[in-house]
């Protein structure tokens, strides 16, 4: 079946995505990039260039290179006077006051230009997928009127596409976050792209989105932020060196790139270095540029730009007749929303709500369009939805630790087994405590069930082998089986609804685990240190017992002293990690000594070399997750 794609036809850049195996994927173009500049050029030899290649020749051919066609599509010539001033190509009035671009004496409609961009996107998508693409969902800004929507649809037709639907960009963004499943929510979409800023307020209910209000600034975007850095650096350099870098195109180009890089760095770091060796030269020789830009300085340079976002947000809220408290979800779209100051502003304007930003903000619109395309073409319906376990499942082991058998987000059906042993000599039964949750210690997790496997044959600790199997079927029903490998005795428990927790409950448990991760890790380390110490004490005790009076008295006394000290610490649940590890290490040294001195005694007695019966290598052979008998 033919694939349907989702296209974010942007003012500066466009993105195309598709549903693959139930997941949206952004496709790369023939130049290897996920973004395709929305630029079309007509060369003097009559060739048409689209995308990055068109952009590269634009300075040579500015009057025949069309960018920002989206600012003109579906509009009347009389409406676009202010836009015409900003572009180097010729815009004229066509029939019925329509906008036309005049290129080499020939007139082109904006939809014909957009069609070229769409054609390239779809051709590259076909190459990526290895099959022909005909069907597409295309996005438009929420404020587009009927004429603009119709013209965008026509662009699709001109490109030979079957346009399944035209959807709003903020709606696509909401789809990408699965918000169509929400009941009666209000969503604010904050879209700060390369050159445009849009705010939309949507209502969602029964899978239908309704645009309540839109606002924005058609000439505000990430490029303005870059320009502020460029100007600042250039002014500083001019003050020091007396040369204006903006006058030389090559220097300016390097500076623009460095400024954008610094801006991106400042989204995660508090300081960025702009380093441009040999940026220019004068009679005295070459000049270098090296400047530090702190995030604070960057924010100071761009305060007014960030503040220009405020009034459109307030306007949209008041048009929708709501206040910030009525907003349930906030979505960030556009690369410039990665700027920390912008994010802080959005939080401030939306009552401190944490915005959705896990999907790449440059791609979220195309991703949403792809999801819509998948639904409309039936692709999404055909996908068998496989459930995942929302939380990890495990068993309690020695020291009250939770040992995970099935990690959270594992796709079901699934089955995992692990072999455990006993914690005491002659332990005849093991308790299986079935747990669910993300915390390290058993007591912090949820108990799903308990059972007991009895009839284990008396044996030293660590010898019996109990195989514990967790099996979750496709319906989320968990069966836990414990089997004594020696006797074949088996006991099981079935727990239904292990996956049926409310989303809030799951979120709370996961957040809890994150909040306590440091503390939990420490506590787990303590338990492990105590377990190791205890296990070492046990082994050495057995060794002493086995070797009997072949052990020199002083060594025996030393070993016994260490064992007593360890037992005392373990009994008191000591959290003195350093001391536990120290004593365990000391005891291990003593154990090595014991086995070698016993061996030399043995060899002197029987003349046979070798014959050690030392501890079974500390950590390696011993299964450190053992059950305690309760």
């Amino acid at each position: 079946m033919a694939k349907a794609v989702g296209i974010d036809l942007g003012t500066t850049n466009s993105v195309v995505a598709v549903m693959e195996g139930g997941q949206p994927t952004v496709m790369i173009n023939s130049e290897g990039s996920r973004l395709t500049p929305s630029v079309v050029a007509f060369t003097k030899t009559g060739e048409r260039l689209v995308g990055q290649i068109a952009k590269r020749q634009s300075v040579l051919n500015a009057e025949n290179t069309i960018y920002s066609a989206k600012r003109f599509i579906g509009r009347r010539y009389s409406e676009v006077q202010s836009e015409i001033k900003n572009v180097p190509y010729k815009v004229v009035a066509g029939p019925n006051d329509a906008v036309r671009f005049e290129i080499a004496g020939k007139q082109y409609a904006p939809e014909e230009i957009s069609a070229q961009v769409l054609r390239k996107l779809v051709d590259d998508a076909s190459k990526y997928l290895g099959e022909k693409v005909n069907d597409a969902v295309i996005t438009v800004p929420a404020y587009f009127n009927d004429a603009q929507r119709q013209a965008t649809k026509d662009a699709g037709k001109i490109a030979g596409l079957n346009v399944l639907r035209i959807i709003n960009e903020p709606t696509a963004a909401a789809l990408a976050y699965g918000l169509d499943k929400k009941k009666n929510e209000t969503i604010l979409v904050f879209d700060l792209g390369g050159g445009t800023f849009d705010v939309s307020i949507l209502d969602v209910g029964d899978g239908v989105f309704e645009v309540q209000a839109t606002s924005g600034d058609t000439h505000l975007g990430g490029d303005d932020f870059d320009k502020r850095i460029v100007d600042w650096v250039a002014q500083e350099f001019q003050r020091d060196q007396g040369i204006d870098l903006r006058k030389d195109r090559q220097s300016l180009q390097r500076l623009i790139e460095a400024a954008e890089k610094a801006k991106i760095e400042l989204s995660s770091a508090v300081e960025a270095t702009i380093s441009l060796p040999f940026i220019t030269a004068d009679a005295s020789g070459p000049k270098h540029l090296e400047m530090k830009l702190t995030r604070a300085k960057f924010e100071q340079l761009t305060t007014d730009l960030v503040e220009r976002c405020i009034s459109p947000v307030k306007q949209a809220l008041s048009d929708a007749k709501i206040t910030e408290r009525d907003i349930d979800e906030v979505i960030l779209v556009g690369g410039a929303t990665r700027t920390p100051a912008v994010q802080a502003l959005v939080r401030r304007l939306t009552g401190g709500k944490e915005p959705n930003q896990s999907v790449n903000p440059d791609e979220v619109v195309a991703v949403g369009a792809a999801i819509q395309a998948g639904v409309l073409s039936g692709e999404v319906k055909n996908v068998v939805l496989l459930d995942v376990t929302p939380l990890s499942l495990g068993v309690e082991t020695l020291g009250g630790v939770m040992t995970k058998l099935i990690e959270r987000n594992t796709t079901v059906p699934t089955r995992k087994s692990e072999t455990f042993s006993t914690a005491d000599d002659n332990q005849s039964a093991v308790d299986i405590h079935v747990l669910q949750g993300e915390r390290e210690l058993a007591r912090d997790n949820r108990t799903l069930g308990h059972f007991r496997l009895e009839g284990i044959r008396p044996a030293p600790r660590g010898v019996p082998q109990v195989e514990v199997t967790y099996d979750i079927d496709a319906n989320g029903i968990l069966t836990v089986t414990a089997k004594d490998k020696e006797s074949g005795k088996e006991q099981k428990i079935t727990i239904s609804g292990s996956t049926q927790l409310s989303k809030d409950e799951i979120d709370r448990m996961v957040a809890d685990a994150q909040a306590h991760s440091e503390e939990d890790r420490r506590r787990r380390e303590e338990v492990e240190a105590r377990n190791n110490a205890d296990s070492m004490a046990y082994q050495v005790e057995r060794q002493l017992h086995d070797l009997g009076d072949r052990v020199p008295l002083n060594e025996k006394a030393r070993a016994e002293q260490l064992i007593t000290q360890i037992r005392e610490l373990v009994k008191n649940n000591s959290s003195d990690l350093a001391r536990l590890r120290q004593l365990t290490g000391d005891l291990q040294q003593v154990a090595y000594g014991l086995s070698s001195s016993a061996a030399s005694q043995q060899s002197s007695q029987s003349g046979r070399p070798g014959g050690t019966s030392g501890p079974q290598g500390g950590d390696d052979d011993v299964i450190d997750a053992e059950f305690t008998e309760k």
């Binding site: 290897g32 195109r249 060796p277 040999f278």
Partner: protein, 162 residues
Amino acid sequence: METADQEKDRTTGNDSTEIDRLKEELQREHEMYLRALADYDNYRRRVERERSAAARSGKRELILQLLDVLDGFDRALQHIGDAPSSVSEGVQLLYRKLLSVLEAQGVTPMQSLGETFNPELHDAIGTVKSEDAEPGTVAEEMQRGYRWGNDLLRPARVRVAL
């Protein structure tokens, strides 16, 4: 007798429809199973492919950053005339060393000067009036272009003759 036979026929009839139904269901289930297997197989292959592509794209990022350093050498060498010759030799050496590291990775510099401007390979940042160069050809190379294997790694940044 007759009624008993009919009875028996009906039972067998029911049995055979049941068998048909089950056969059909088995067939359907089997198909789904095969489909899942195929999906998995395709997925595995794609992951394999994407892993190598991801490795390549990760490397590409690094190489592009190294080209930035190489550009610095290019520019330094343009000014090297005034420096003592031992310093200039040293810088030349460093430059060639970095270039050979990149060449070992399959990165090759492109010759752009004098070529006809081609936006597939060249990024035009301006024009110049030139006596020597043919109009429409690359008159000045501001930043060298590079290939990586058969792919364009970075276009050359050029001025084109008017």
